[in-house]
């Protein structure tokens, strides 16, 4: 029979007490956290004017809205499911395909140009913001704050301001995306640059290279594949962002979607949404494939 070794009670007692105290402290913490969370929820309920009854009462609106956008509400097919007539004819679901594809193309171009310009600025700034490469404390601090500003202000706020400055159109959208992208990618890029192996950089400096040569020959080869991967990821995000730029008049398919939703062109809403979803998914799959390829080959 096995015997269990057990401390004598006199020695055990202090341990038991310590354990109980620790447990009680933890329990108090948990209870405090729950109370704080509960209070926050209650406060938020009032501030956000949450009205569960209204939601329950109107929830049929949501389902009927979904139902309505998937049925024709005018033309010869009135009342039929849109998927029954997915053609491109004047009465079909995708009747506006030429216009929509053009706008979708514009959306993609906005996303692409915004990503490219933003990535270029991020590329210029990231080496100055990286702790191991930045030239001086001051430039590092300034670059970091600048990038922070660029990524914290939502892109739609930039878009709103730019629409006033540059006029309605894709230019405002591209610039807004570019600024946000520069901030977001600048941070990621500089983090990549901070994690490199510094030996090649020391080597270049030791053999008489200047800062630019050091970045070009020692840093760049180490970071390029990761930069491309992050850039593609950002492109994916920006496609989503560009699809709503039109809400504030900054180009792309958003304007058309907003009109369709506001004017209750139900079948159009679903058609445009389907186009956006399919495009976003295709871009996701393609960039993910390329990214896996890149990081796989990079290692």
């Amino acid at each position: 029979m096995t015997t269990f070794v057990r401390l004598p009670d006199a020695q055990l007692l202090p341990h038991v007490l310590t354990y109980r105290r620790a447990l009680a402290a933890r329990r108090r913490q948990t209870i405090a956290a729950i109370i704080v969370l509960g209070l926050a929820i209650i406060a938020a309920f009032f501030m956000a004017e949450v009205d569960v009854l209204k939601l329950v009462a109107n929830f049929t609106n949501f389902t009927s809205y979904l139902q309505r956008i998937f049925h024709f509400d005018s033309g010869p097919y009135t009342g039929q499911l849109v998927v029954l007539h997915p053609g491109f004819g004047t009465d079909d679901w995708f009747w506006g395909i030429t216009k929509w594809l053009k706008l979708l193309g514009e959306t993609l171009l906005i996303a692409y140009l915004g990503t490219a310009i933003g990535a270029a600025f991020a590329f210029i700034f990231c080496f100055h913001a990286a702790d191991n490469l930045g030239k001086s404390r001051t430039t590092r601090w300034i670059t970091k704050r600048l990038l922070e500003f660029c990524r914290t202000v939502p892109e739609l706020v930039f878009a709103l301001i730019f629409v006033v400055a540059f006029g309605v159109g894709a230019l405002a959208g591209v610039l807004a995306l570019a600024i946000h992208t520069a901030g977001a990618l600048g941070k990621l890029f500089s983090e990549v640059a901070e994690n490199i192996d510094m030996k090649p950089a020391d080597g270049v400096i030791a053999s008489g290279g200047n800062w630019t040569e050091m970045v070009r020959f020692a840093v760049l080869p180490q970071v390029l594949s990761n930069f491309t991967s992050y850039g593609l990821l950002r492109f994916e995000i920006n496609v989503r962002g560009a699809s709503i730029m039109g809400f504030v008049g900054a180009g792309g398919i958003g304007q058309e979607l907003l009109t369709a939703i506001r004017k209750f062109y139900y079948a159009d809403v679903s058609a445009i949404l389907v186009l956006i979803i399919v495009t976003v998914m295709v871009i996701d799959v393609v960039t993910e494939y390329v990214r896996h390829h890149l990081t796989g080959a990079g290692r």
């Binding site: 956000a48 939601l55 109107n58 709103l160 301001i161 006033v164 591209v174 053999s207 504030v248 979607l257």
Partner: protein, 298 residues
């Protein structure tokens, strides 16, 4: 490549290194003489990317006059923005209330999304529900929710509950259910299998496995992801008002349209401040819960 420029009389080390160069060149041909095809491919990719940029600029109809004119106007706006001001006291109260509303939208939206996505994540994780069809369907479902931007969801919810912050809460909730569902299910799939195997080996059923092997491992990861999204939702909630779903965005877009630049600057600073505070708070909380800084997000 340039030889190192000024160094003093070539030391023994240098001569030695230079002597080794031919041998090294033979040993590592890809580095000393990269294949012309690879170079050509790189050049072609760069040329293609630049060409697409030029095409985009042409297709989107950019003109220098518009760009310069716009930059001039932007300069004007910026000079008008200084010093930022909140206008009247009544407006300050309005702004602070809108800020509170923004936070409430982000907080509730994230919380509700996490609650709904929790079971969805289990459903979409291939190591919990082994059925391939369920797995693929739930993943596609989550993907299509995610593909629709928060602002579009806001427009749809406005049709259901009317204008106001409640629509914003629902919009953030909906679009985050997609994101959380995906992140949660991926976190579940990447868990250590040993705990599950232990539970199953000692006679536990599927529910026991979820409760005692998966949930304890995954809760800290979920929590940290939720906090991270709370941060980013604070940002989303600041703009959701542009379409009428509550928060500070509606006021901001009004002030921009009215050319009230000092107040625009004040509002932007307010947003920056609140986002910075939330960042700090949530990274503290995250550190205290998971005890480390980095949890990966895709």
């Amino acid at each position: 490549m340039k030889p190192a420029s000024p160094p003093a009389p070539p030391g023994a080390l240098r001569t030695q290194a230079l002597e080794q160069r031919p041998a090294l060149a033979i040993a590592y041909p890809q580095i000393f003489a990269p294949s012309p095809w690879r170079r050509l491919l790189t050049l072609a990719i760069i040329a293609g990317a630049l060409g697409l940029m030029v095409f985009a600029v042409w297709e989107l109809d950019f003109s220098w006059s518009r760009i310069w004119g716009g930059i001039g106007k932007l300069g004007d706006f910026v000079t008008h923005m200084i010093p930022p001001s909140y206008g009247t006291e009544a407006r300050l109260v309005l702004y602070l209330k809108a800020l509170g509303e923004t936070l409430a939208i982000a907080f509730l939206g994230t919380l509700l999304a996490a609650l709904f996505a929790f079971p969805m994540g289990f459903l979409a994780a291939s190591n919990v529900v082994a059925n391939r069809l369920v797995h693929i369907l739930s993943r596609r479902f989550l993907d299509s929710i995610r593909a629709v931007d928060t602002l579009i969801w806001a427009l749809i919810w406005i049709n259901v509950v009317g204008l106001g912050p409640f629509a914003g809460v629902l919009a953030i909730m909906t679009s985050d259910i997609g994101a959380f569902g995906k992140l949660f299910s991926e976190a579940l799939e990447n868990l250590d299998r040993k705990a599950s195997e232990g539970v199953v080996a000692s006679g536990g059923n599927g529910l026991h496995r979820i409760r005692f092997a998966l949930i304890p491992q995954v809760i800290p990861i979920f929590f940290s992801q939720v906090l991270y999204y709370f941060e980013s939702n604070t940002r989303s909630a600041t703009i959701i008002g542009i379409v009428g779903a509550g928060g500070i965005g509606s006021l901001l877009s009004e002030r921009i349209r009215e050319n009230e630049w000092p107040e625009v600057a004040f509002l932007v600073l307010l947003i920056l401040l609140i986002v910075a505070i939330i960042d700090q708070v949530s990274s503290r909380l995250r550190l205290s819960v998971i005890g480390q800084r980095n949890v990966t997000f895709s």
